[in-house]
């Protein structure tokens, strides 16, 4: 019947963000059932609820229906409206969780989006704001989304579990996206990084830098890792430290890796030296995986490719992350076809 054609239905809370984002972009309502239906604590979590609230804020005319237990969600998207918005994200997940979806939606708003997000800027689960700033923004620029108002600023840092970070993201509106041809990853010419520490000794950051350099120096000398120690109000509510590394290639693509310390009161204490070394190794892994877009931004790149003009975009990717493949699954939702070619050589 027509029902199937008009609204899509899914089960489980998996890939909730992508489903809702694609639904918003395609204008098709979705119904998600059985959200943690068999869980001891059924229904939507706080962070998901917060995400839905965020969607409601940036759209106009959305209809959201959640049943009493929170196990079923019906979302009928409205128009992407934009404007200046403030949102308090849940501290259960990082701001990256919300920002990733916003990056997909922001270029298609009616009014330029200027949003203030408050919550956890760096955690162990989601891509941190630093990484997104260093990799996702240049990627969007490849699609022709740039300008003065296109920026992501970290005002305050907040680590889990307390949070207290603040990020300002503003993005202009673009009617058409440029098709991209990212098939040559190029050679890595420099590695940059950001070692941050909040509410711990500022020496931590320096220790991280040293250890990370010790590994990366074997490959390339052009390494610069900034240390960022925030104090007072800007340091959020919980202590922590971490490192994010970005490798830039000659053709302007970015590969990233990051690692953050265990949140306060959870897990064993992490030595900054170990963290630095592990993070450097993660970057090497990322380099090993290759591709013109790093694993966190694969789905973003693919999405923007599909939403671009009729012209064909090309991108070379490393092995696809589970998140990306989920995105590919949902593509038919938008009604998009893609000719995928499995790269043979690496």
């Amino acid at each position: 019947m027509a029902t199937q054609a008009h609204s899509l239905s899914y089960a489980g809370c998996n890939f909730l963000r992508q489903r809702l984002v694609l639904s918003t972009l395609s204008g098709r309502p979705v119904k998600i059932r059985k959200i943690r239906a068999r869980d001891d604590n059924p229904g939507l979590r706080d962070f998901e609820a917060s995400f839905i609230r965020l969607l409601d804020k940036i759209t106009n005319g959305s209809r959201i229906e959640i049943n009493q237990t929170g196990t079923t969600l019906y979302y009928q998207p409205g128009l992407l409206y934009g404007g200046s918005v403030e949102h308090d994200c849940s501290v259960l997940r990082g701001i990256g969780y919300y920002l990733e979806s916003l990056l997909c939606l922001a270029p298609f708003m009616k009014h330029p989006l200027k949003i203030v997000l408050r919550g956890v800027t760096n955690d162990q689960v989601d891509p941190s704001v630093d990484v997104l700033k260093a990799t996702a923004l240049p990627l969007l620029k490849q699609f022709g989304i740039d300008g003065e108002s296109f920026e992501l600023k970290i005002v305050r840092r907040g680590m889990p579990p307390g949070g207290g970070g603040e990020v300002v993201f503003s993005c202009p509106v673009r009617k058409v996206l440029k098709p991209i041809q990212l098939t040559d990853p190029g050679k890595i010419k420099r590695i940059r990084g950001m070692a941050y520490s909040v509410r711990v000794s500022p020496q931590m950051a320096n220790r991280i830098v040293d250890s990370a350099r010790s590994i990366l120096n074997k490959f390339i000398p052009d390494i610069y890792i900034y240390t960022d120690h925030m104090k007072g109000v800007n340091s959020g509510k919980s202590p922590g430290f971490g490192l994010s590394l970005v490798a830039e290639t000659t053709s302007g693509t970015f590969l990233s890796a990051e690692l953050a310390s265990n949140p306060q009161g959870q897990g064993a204490a992490v030595l900054p030296e170990d963290l630095g070394r592990n993070c450097a190794r993660l970057l090497l892994e990322e380099i090993y995986r290759g591709g013109c877009v790093d694993s966190t931004n694969q789905s973003l790149a693919l999405l923007l490719m599909t939403l671009g003009q009729q012209d064909v975009s090309k991108v070379l990717l490393g092995p696809l992350s589970p998140y990306t493949t989920a995105g590919l699954i949902s593509k038919p939702q938008v009604g998009i076809r893609s000719a995928s070619r499995v790269p043979r050589a690496h």
Partner: protein
């Protein structure tokens, strides 16, 4: 004759040649000026005025910039779809005649009856789709949206008619296509002068409407009921060379002008339930952008649907192949008009008639007869049958015709009996095939569809056998009947295929199988399995399989077959290189064919099943692979001992398991030039990489989960739900975009480090280059890859692709993966098959069609609207009106509003007469800036201009707030100084509390504020004013009340009406119409009635001036208060005199005497007066005379005096003269 003296040669005195000669002559004489004038005479070109020069430069630049446009990307495909030519005009103006003449002009064919669009090949690179547009407003709107060129017919003897202007207005709103006027009925003019005048008048009016200089054609007269050949020829030339500017709306949306329609619904279903869901397939050329499969579409006049499948068909009206000739062959002048029964198929209500022999058999039809025609068509085949199969639609039908033996009773009208029978068969087969094809592709949970397909499968099974038997019988039959011919052709085909490809039968069989599987009909499965067994042997059973395949899925199958063939030959070449066995090849083909079938099926829930079955069948068919299949389970990832071949085999197995079709063929060659390690790495990577195709286009895991949940039953009562841990985990897992590293490398090891060395600028570039080289070679050899979507095999390029160079080319290729196909097949018709159930009874079931629609388009659009100046009435808010926006026509209830200075959107009851106003309504999402028009009704004939309003969409905003004014009134019941107590405005204290501090006002203009609620009468409040009120004052408060937009959207489904009533669609009626229909009169407000005005006379009080003021007044203004004279007292009154008769006589006499006297006196006085007058006159006379005399005297005197003086003078002069002398 020879002797006849020829004309003498005359030297040319002008023209380029003469000039050249002159120049040469001058040059010979050394007089020539090689230099141009500028050089020869520099002074003449010197700058005279810098200012003027700057000005002229400025002006040229201005003109240049004016010409600049935003560059329009030309996205027209290499072979553009036909140009839509809409022939429009009022009735009886000669539209059909013009179309007929045009068709005859281009194709030398005569179409007697024209129904629907007619596509013709008009030139080497141009096709035209000509369609007639009547004066039904629906039709006009729809056609204006798709037209590329409009031929606007105007009856010159009558002049312009309303339809013409309406159509022009529609065009203006929906993007202006090219418009060419055609004046007809010019022969009705007797006088040449009048004709000229009329032409001029009409031309200028036309120019004001379209643009100055718009082309207007004159068709001067009719010859034998047709226009003059020369004029039509000229018109045709104009059309063929015309250039078009792409219209934004058309180029940014995919659309199809369907030239053919098929109802694929099972007739049985229709019989049992006339309102059952229909499956309809529409055919046409795709225009605009690319049409996505499964996308939402709108059919104007019908509604919104989802496409169930889109597929390509060979072009029925193909452009001629590239050749170096100036004009078209007779053969290439094709005409295709299925709805009119030309160039293919004629559709009746329950049968399809095929016109064999292409468009030119059409002419021969009458004389020769069908059998001969068939023979002729056979004889005329120059290309191979395969090619024909690919390109021709007719062959396609005739192919399956041979199979037919059913439904002989149903007879067509055009063709002789046996053909009809075949045709019917094909028609029927066609339906079946599409069912089978589409059922898998359609919604899996659609029970009806499944049942249907099962039926089909069954029928297939049974009818196949019959057909085969019949054919066998017929093969032996040697008479030259039509069937015989067909048979032969078929056999040829089979032979062909068998000769070319040894495993063709297999592959096709698989194809058939997969389609049968999709049907999920077990019986069909069984039967096909039997066929599988027989398929092993070659010969007639093989051919049977072929036939089966073609039968099962007619046109798509044909396509697929072609593809399979191609693949096959490709693989054969490879087989020469490699040592792979043919079994292997077939396996791959299986994949390919599966791909296609699966691609056509989107969310087939049976995929898992089909996979299993596949595996089973493979075991049955290819025992050689069973071993490897069994190895599957115990497969070790890194098998050290086995050689590379084994590795690769394993990889294949793995793929089989996962149903991954990609790269198998390429992988075969890895062993030849890459090291074992590379192969291993590749394997690992392949394992790590998820099966993309399956993921993207395969089953969604949720469905499985549901199945899993309902597995076992305990005692027939309870169900044991055993949630699959894995599944559940997957469904509710963490939503995170990070890609964790599962098996980290040990980055301390040198070799691991070396593996990424070349990723850095510091790494070895040479190495990398080498690697690149290797890669390039690799690409060269195995660059072919498989498009996961279409299952097409893309062949690798022969050389390494230099990106910049080939991007364009590649883009072309990849935009449309079938482009490559088109290279082979030349022409593709894009066929859209649409299977959509729509309820005839919308209101049954829990979620109806319209509910869904509502959900889909719950959007409010704001638009700037202006009532059309030619529309006689103004429009009323909340009156349903029909909008044409985007592709859609729909009825909705708009609210009109106007924006106040402070941005408030105030509701209007009616649209302004001559001004723009806003309108908002509830309807589908439409991009901003889209033009729209409104009409009050689409039914019947309205005497006046039908377009009620036009405008543009401004915004889409759900949160628009339209308000209307609400005045609350109250009355003072107690008045203090500036404070009053007001009652009657509110009903409760709560209401008052809400409005505390609000501004209020009296009618007389005293402003105030609401202070606080009072206890005593409910809803009363205290208010303070700037002045003291009167009890008679009315206090009011102005408030704004938001109005909600009625959620009413009713697509105009005029085309669902039965034939002949298409223009009678009437949607929701306005209240006015309803009242009129039911004779309900509105009860008028008594106070609003007009009554005779009675004015009472006003009495004013007397003016009272205070005493003090009186005192101060000047005497003049003081009230004169003199007392009236009192009565004369009696004593002062004089007594009346009473006379004696004698006395009275005396008195009378005296009176008489005095009268006489006075009369005498009067007379005397008069005489005296007269005398005086006389005297005066006499004296005057005397006086005058006296004066005269004096005057004369004086005159005399002066004369004498003068003479004297003169004399004196003279004498003095004389004296002087004398002295002088």
């Amino acid at each position: 004759m020879e002797a006849k003296d020829q004309k003498k040669h005359r030297k040319k005195n002008s023209g380029p040649k003469a000039e050249k000669k002159k120049k040469r002559h001058l040059q010979d004489l050394q007089l020539g000026d090689e230099e141009d004038a500028r050089k020869r005479n520099p002074k003449a070109f010197a700058v005279q005025s810098a200012v003027r020069m700057a000005r002229s430069f400025h002006r040229t630049q201005d003109l240049k910039t004016k010409k600049h446009h935003i560059p329009v990307v030309d996205r027209t495909p290499l072979e553009p779809p036909p140009i839509v030519v809409v022939v429009m005009g009022p009735p009886k103006v000669g539209k059909s005649t013009l179309i007929q003449c045009l068709i005859r002009n281009f194709t030398r064919q005569k179409l007697t009856e024209i129904r629907g669009p007619v596509t013709i090949v008009s030139g080497k690179k141009r096709r035209l789709t000509i369609i007639e547009c009547g004066c039904d407003i629906n039709m006009m709107i729809d056609l204006a949206k798709v037209a590329d060129l409009v031929l606007m017919l105007i009856d010159a003897s009558f002049g312009f008619e309303m339809e013409t202007f309406e159509f022009l207005n529609i065009c203006q709103v929906h993007g202006f296509p090219k418009i060419m006027g055609v004046l007809t009925h010019l022969d009705s003019f007797k006088h040449n002068k009048q004709l000229k005048k009329t032409k001029k008048r009409l031309k200028h009016r036309f120019w004001t409407e379209v643009y100055p200089g718009a082309k207007l054609f004159y068709l001067s007269g009719m010859v034998h009921g047709e226009y003059q050949n020369q004029e039509i020829h000229n018109l045709g030339r104009f059309i063929t060379v015309m250039k078009f500017r792409p219209l934004t709306w058309q180029t940014s949306h995919p659309y199809i002008l369907a030239d053919r329609m098929e109802d694929l619904t099972n007739p049985e279903d229709i019989r049992t339930n006339i309102k059952c869901d229909r499956k309809v397939s529409l055919y046409g050329y795709l225009r605009g952008t690319h049409l996505k499969n499964k996308s939402q579409i709108h059919m104007p006049g019908i509604g919104d649907f989802t496409v169930s499948d889109v597929s390509f068909l060979p072009d029925p009206c193909a452009l001629p192949e590239q050749q170096k000739k100036r004009c078209l062959n007779e053969k290439e002048k094709l005409v295709y008009a299925p709805l009119s029964g030309v160039g293919g198929v004629l559709y009746d209500k329950d049968a399809v008639y095929v016109d064999l022999g292409g468009s030119h058999g059409f002419q021969a039809l009458d004389e020769v007869g069908s059998t001969h025609e068939l023979v002729q068509s056979l004889i005329s085949t120059h290309s191979t049958i395969d090619a024909k199969m690919a390109s021709s639609r007719v062959m396609l039908f005739s192919d399956s015709k041979a199979l037919g033996s059913e439904d002989i009773d149903n007879q067509g009208l055009l063709m002789p009996k046996e053909e009809k029978q075949m045709d019917l068969k094909t028609g029927r087969m066609r339906r079946k095939a599409v069912f089978g094809d589409e059922d898998g592709s359609g919604d899996s949970d659609d029970e009806e569809g499944d049942e249907m397909s099962e039926d089909d499968g069954l029928e297939n099974g049974s009818s196949d056998e019959e057909a085969v038997e019949e054919e066998n019988a017929e093969v032996t039959d040697e008479c030259m009947t039509a069937k015989g011919v067909k048979r032969r052709k078929l056999e040829e085909l089979e032979e062909d295929s068998e000769a070319d490809l040894p495993a063709f039968a297999d592959s096709d069989d698989d194809l058939e199988r997969s389609s049968a599987e999709e049907g999920e009909a077990e019986e069909a499965d069984e039967s096909s399995e039997e066929e599988d067994c027989s398929a092993g042997e070659k010969g007639i059973s093989g051919s049977k399989a072929v036939r089966e395949g073609s039968k099962a899925e007619l046109s798509p199958a044909n396509h697929q077959r072609d593809r399979v063939n191609l693949e096959k030959s490709l693989l054969m070449k490879k087989a020469a290189l490699t040592t792979s066995d043919s079994g292997h090849c077939t396996a791959e083909e299986v994949f390919a064919s599966e791909d296609e079938s699966e691609e056509s099926s989107s969310l087939s829930a049976e995929e898992e099943d089909s996979e299993n079955q596949e595996a089973l069948r493979k075991k049955l068919l290819k025992p050689s692979q069973v071993g490897s299949g069994q190895k599957l389970g115990s497969r070790n990832l890194i098998d050290e001992t086995s050689d590379i071949e084994d590795l690769l085999k394993e990889e294949e197995d793995y793929k089989e398991e996962r149903n991954d079709p990609t790269e198998t063929s390429g992988a075969l060659k890895w062993k030849e030039d890459l090291s074992r390690k590379a192969a291993e790495a590749f394997l690992r990577q392949q394992q790590a990489a998820p099966n993309l195709r399956k993921l993207i286009y395969g089953t969604v895991t949720e469905d499985n989960e549901e199945e899993d949940d309902t597995q076992e039953e305990l005692g027939g009562l309870f169900r044991v739900t055993q949630p699959d841990r894995g599944c559940k985990h997957k469904a509710d897992s963490l939503d995170c975009s990070r890609f964790p590293v599962e098996a980290p490398h040990d980055w301390d090891l040198e070799e691991v480090m070396n593996s990424i060395r070349d990723c850095f600028v510091t790494g070895k570039w040479e190495d990398d280059k080498d690697a690149a080289k290797v890669l390039a070679e690799d690409e060269e050899l195995y660059g072919d890859f498989e498009d996961l979507e279409t299952g097409d095999v893309h062949k690798g390029k022969s050389g390494p692709i230099t990106q910049n160079e080939d991007v364009e080319k590649e883009v072309k290729e990849e935009i449309d993966p079938n482009e490559e196909e088109s290279a082979k097949k030349k022409h593709l018709d894009k066929k859209r098959k649409l299977k959509e159930m729509f309820d005839a009874e919308y209101d049954e079931g829990e979620s109806t069609y319209f509910d869904d629609l509502k959900g889909e388009m719950q959007k409010q659009a704001q638009m700037r609207l202006k009532k059309h100046r030619w529309y006689k009435k103004i429009l009323k808010s909340r009156d349903p009106i029909i909008f044409s926006v985007g592709w859609r026509r729909f009825q909705t209830i708009p609210l009109y509003y106007i924006e106040d200075h402070n941005g408030r959107q105030r509701l209007l009851k009616y649209t302004p007469q001559h001004m723009h106003c806003g309108a908002t309504f509830w309807g589908p999402i439409t991009p901003q800036g889209t033009g729209f028009l409104a009409i009050q009704s689409v039914s019947g004939i309205m005497p006046d201009f039908r377009i009620a309003a036009t405008g543009v969409v401004l915004d889409l905003d759900k949160s628009i707030k339209i308000v209307k004014k609400l005045k609350l009134t109250g009355f003072p019941y107690k008045i203090f100084k500036n404070t009053s107590f007001i009652k009657g405005m509110f009903n409760s204290a709560l209401e008052v509390a809400k409005f505390e501090g609000a501004m209020i006002r009296t009618v007389s203009g005293i402003r105030g504020q609401i202070k606080k609620a009072l206890r005593a009468p409910e809803g009363a409040f205290r208010a303070s004013f700037e002045d003291k009120l009167l009890m008679s004052d009315i206090v009011f408060m102005r408030t704004w009340y938001p109005v909600s937009i009625p959620a009413f959207y009713n697509p105009v489904t005029s085309l669902l009406k039965p034939v002949g009533e298409k223009d009678t669609w009437s949607g929701m009626r306005t209240t006015g119409q309803l009242r009129l229909a039911h004779g309900i009169r509105l009860k008028a407000n008594k106070d609003s009635l007009y009554k005779p005005i009675l004015r009472q006379k006003k009495h004013f009080n007397s003016l009272h001036i205070p005493k003090a003021l009186q005192k101060a007044l000047p005497f003049k203004n003081k009230p004169k208060t003199q007392a009236k004279a009192g009565k004369v007292p009696k004593d002062r009154r004089r007594p009346a005199v009473v006379r004696e008769p004698h006395e009275r006589k005396i008195l009378a006499l005296l009176d008489a005497l005095s009268t006489v006297h006075s009369q005498k006196m009067k007379k005397a006085k008069e005489q005296q007066h007269l005398h005086n007058k006389e005297h005066f006159r006499a004296r005057q006379k005397e006086e005058e005379e006296k004066l005269k005399r004096q005057k004369d005297l004086r005159k005399k005197l002066f004369r004498i005096q003068g003479q004297k003086e003169r004399r004196n003078q003279k004498s003095s002069l004389k004296g002087a003269e004398g002295q002088l002398q």
